[in-house]
Assembly symmetry: C2
Homo-oligomer: 335 residues x 2
DNA sequence: CATAATGATGAAACCGGTTTCAGAAACAGT
DNA sequence: ACTGTTTCTGAAACCGGTTTCATCATTATG
């Protein structure tokens, strides 16, 4: 059960057994064989907690996401987990329900027992972030703060492309549905505004809305009260919510109104009409962030130079279409 | 930084400091105050790993789900996390991508460093399960195995209700789209078959399909090759996939074909038409399972008597409708 | 007042590993 | 045969807490 039992049984010292499991090459071949034989006869396996204490590293990294149930988070987690396992690390996952206080609490709780912390779109204060970074290596995504390495998914250009796309389809009045305050929303909004300005399109904003379907429903009603024919939503869930509400009110997408989302979550391909959206490379961002983090953990200081920017990309599907003068498009647009 | 530093600074023994943090009531009020003062002046906080080693418990429970990105899993995780935190436990999350080998690996890796293990719809072998249960307290959901406490979400009746619902709408030929082998699929299939038998409906099966949207697309084509007018899918994602593919082929839901899903994930309300589905109480099941697990961990042996069964419930929405002789229903069924 | 019970504290063992350091043994070179 | 390396192993300290047990001071009890 313990290392001393194995040692006794194999007639060696605990130190040797330990070596067999940590640096096998430093122990003579036959000794090693004997120890291993005894070990798996007793089916002994080193106690991870004890090992962590002794080595001062846990082989664990923590990740805090805004909302586990959100498909965007899920994709990130998945990518990170895959990367982490490749390097022999396991993952502590916490979801904060977009609630900054929870987020901080989880992060602090984890900070003490992980080798590094990956914060996805953190909402907490700068001070808190810096405090955390003082306790353990921290990398974050979609948040910019001097002194903490970050991976940014930069939708600025792609959001602009979305606007251009709508412009090309004839839309002349657009509305942006804001998400929760933070880097992502700010960049998307800026991309939207700047492109509208450049093209001379009437641009307005609604929100902020929480980044959920239900908020999208509500947003849908508000959109109805405007005369906009094109909607750019903070994320796909909101976009889908809008489309649903509009449908309930007899407004068809894309015939009457065009809608663009953000993130390109699984949802985008599942709904009808399939959603035109700005793809955010969540998996790539997660993997990259983890890579940086592991570099920091291992003392290989990569990454310390400026944040990494990964561009988004407009994906055109079926929720955007020509702006009709009064919505007089033909009904059948199946491809 | 360490407990001895605090002890020295406060002029007490390490033991006393430890007591202040574990059973504050056993130390004199003024001593306690002094220690606390010193502690947060040095902003000392007990090292969780060391504490775990000494106490023999980690304050951590592990959960393994089939697929983090699946909304059903996400809901479960969320519920479990909420419960866990209430009791001061943190969560280790692992997703197995529906791959039994991964699942086993994760479970084993976790088993050694958590106080208990929660397995959601595990696919691994009985032997492996029992081996795990021998290492640490284990509770599972949607899997039945003697000797391991479980929470079962029992869709049998509700799936039958779905069949009756379709029958009442005039459907006389139904097809079931099987999911991955396992308890859930088995129960759903049985509920489907028995109800069809009872009502004298023609029943066939296709699959098994993996429980994903993409598999649903494929299933949609296969459905087209049958003459069934009613489809009962293993889960919502598959159901939505079917609907999409049918739409691409010009078949309307629910006018031409009715579709029922399972799980009642967020997706069900997001798609159009909104999905009629058998709600599975994932959150309740997760919470209940965690409750049992914590009982076991704490030595309060609740739960050891037989598995807990939570019934499903048919939720009728807009993806099911009257079976027309040749689909000659009116087009406008907005509520 | 003597004695028992109660309460607060510290010394030391312990949880289960890792790692430094030094010594023994084997080997190479001249 | 002698010295200098190299390889292998064990003793013991250590990681940072918790907990048992004994001690001592204090208060309650007869």
């Amino acid at each position: 059960m313990s290392i001393r039992d194995v040692a006794a049984q194999a007639g060696v010292s605990p130190a040797t057994v330990s070596r067999v499991f940590t640096r096998p090459d430093t122990v003579a071949a036959d000794t090693r064989r004997r120890v291993i034989a005894v070990a798996d006869e007793l089916n002994y396996t080193p106690h991870p907690v004890a090992r962590s204490l002794a080595q001062g590293r846990t082989g664990t990294i923590g990740i805090v996401v805004p909302d586990i149930a959100n498909s965007f988070s899920a994709v990130t987690i998945k990518a990170v987990q895959k990367e982490a396992r490749r390097d022999g690390f396991t993952l502590f996952v916490a979801g904060s329900d977009e609630f900054a206080l929870d987020e901080e609490r989880w992060a602090r709780a984890m900070a003490a027992q992980v080798d590094g912390l990956l914060l996805v779109s953190p909402q907490m204060s700068d001070d808190t972030l810096l405090a955390l970074a003082g306790m353990t290596p921290v990398v974050m995504t979609n948040r910019l703060l001097d002194g903490i390495p970050a991976v940014l998914t930069d939708a600025y250009e792609a959001t602009g492309h979305a606007v251009e796309h709508l412009y090309a389809l004839g839309h002349r009045e657009l509305v942006y549905l804001a998400g929760p305050d933070g880097y992502s929303n700010e960049v998307r909004l800026r991309g939207f505004r700047d492109a509208c300005g450049r093209l001379g399109i009437a641009a307005s904003e609604l929100g902020p809305f929480s980044a959920r379907f239900s908020a999208g429903l509500r947003a849908g009603d508000l959109v109805l009260a405007t005369s906009a024919t094109g909607v750019v939503a903070y994320n796909d869930e909101v976009a889908v919510g809008v489309i649903n509400r509009l449908a309930d009110r007899g407004i068809r997408v894309p015939q009457d109104v065009s809608v663009v989302g953000h993130d390109d979550t699984q949802l985008a391909e599942m709904v009808m009409p399939r959603l035109t959206t700005v793809r955010i490379p969540a998996a790539a961002a997660g993997a990259a962030a983890l890579g940086m983090l592991l570099d920091m953990v291992a003392g290989r200081d990569g990454a310390v130079h400026g944040p990494l920017r990964l561009p988004g990309e407009l994906v055109v599907r079926a929720s955007t279409g020509p702006a009709g003068p009064v919505g007089g498009k033909d009904e059948d647009d199946r491809s």
